[in-house]
Symmetry: C2
Subunit: 153 residues, 2 copies
Amino acid sequence: MALRIDDMDRKILGELQRDAAQSLDEIAKRVGSSKTPVWNRIRKLREAGVIKQQTVLLDAEALGFEACFFVLIRTSEHEADWQQKFLTALRERPEVQEAHRLAGDIDYILKVQVQNARAYDQFYQALISEVKVHNVTALLSMEEIKSTAMLPL
Amino acid sequence: MALRIDDMDRKILGELQRDAAQSLDEIAKRVGSSKTPVWNRIRKLREAGVIKQQTVLLDAEALGFEACFFVLIRTSEHEADWQQKFLTALRERPEVQEAHRLAGDIDYILKVQVQNARAYDQFYQALISEVKVHNVTALLSMEEIKSTAMLPL
DNA sequence: TATGAAAGTTTTAAATA
DNA sequence: TATTTAAAACTTTCATA
């Protein structure tokens, strides 16, 4: 995993982030290099895990996922055992798009994408029946202003 | 944009989400169809905007983006003019990976990915100098438990 | 790093159910 | 109307200079 990443790598990653469907030739032209070196760098970046996945981003609303909640969680439990159970529950639930353990007052934040408010309630009920949490606040998104996975390389 | 999406479309989108680098032949085999119909469906889904982008997901930490903050924003300003300025500021800043307008007490939530705490402070100072906000709470992520863009189709 | 050739893939078009 | 077949154009992959 310890891979020195130089400017050329960064340019290539930038192109792949922008459009992973473009051909090697096109990427090479844009970054000012040629096919073989670009291909070798991409292979190395893939093997090192810097490129984690090649995927498509879908329009959640068009597919019926019309509700997005951010969930702030406080817990009184801080035992390893409880935490393990909680993490596993989050990783297994496909509605959970993001889950972070936080510093400070609030212990966890989740981003949950569901069909509608009822589906959120079902998720919520299932979660609190699996693991004990002290306090849960759900923030409902009214409008996605921006959503991107692009890193500013 | 009004496109009826059937079960076969959903299967194809599921495969593309999972691995957008696999060949048409492979996708066709997995969903129980053949190349041309799969290709035509993908083209339609792309044109309709259901497939928004083809991209690669990168390891943020390996690229030096070691700090992730969730930012809760309250504002007293609710005029169209102020809001327009605020949205533009968020869309232009590449550190902002997500921005949502919320229902209720808290007005906005952001996900901000930066190199370190100092870079976050610079972002924060720049933002509040551009637009007036009433109250800002930053939640620092200690651990990314899960991060995915996969919809459970 | 560059070239080029073999293997494989995408894309279009025509033919078929 | 949707699917299969087929063939041209293009891309990836890899050996060699």
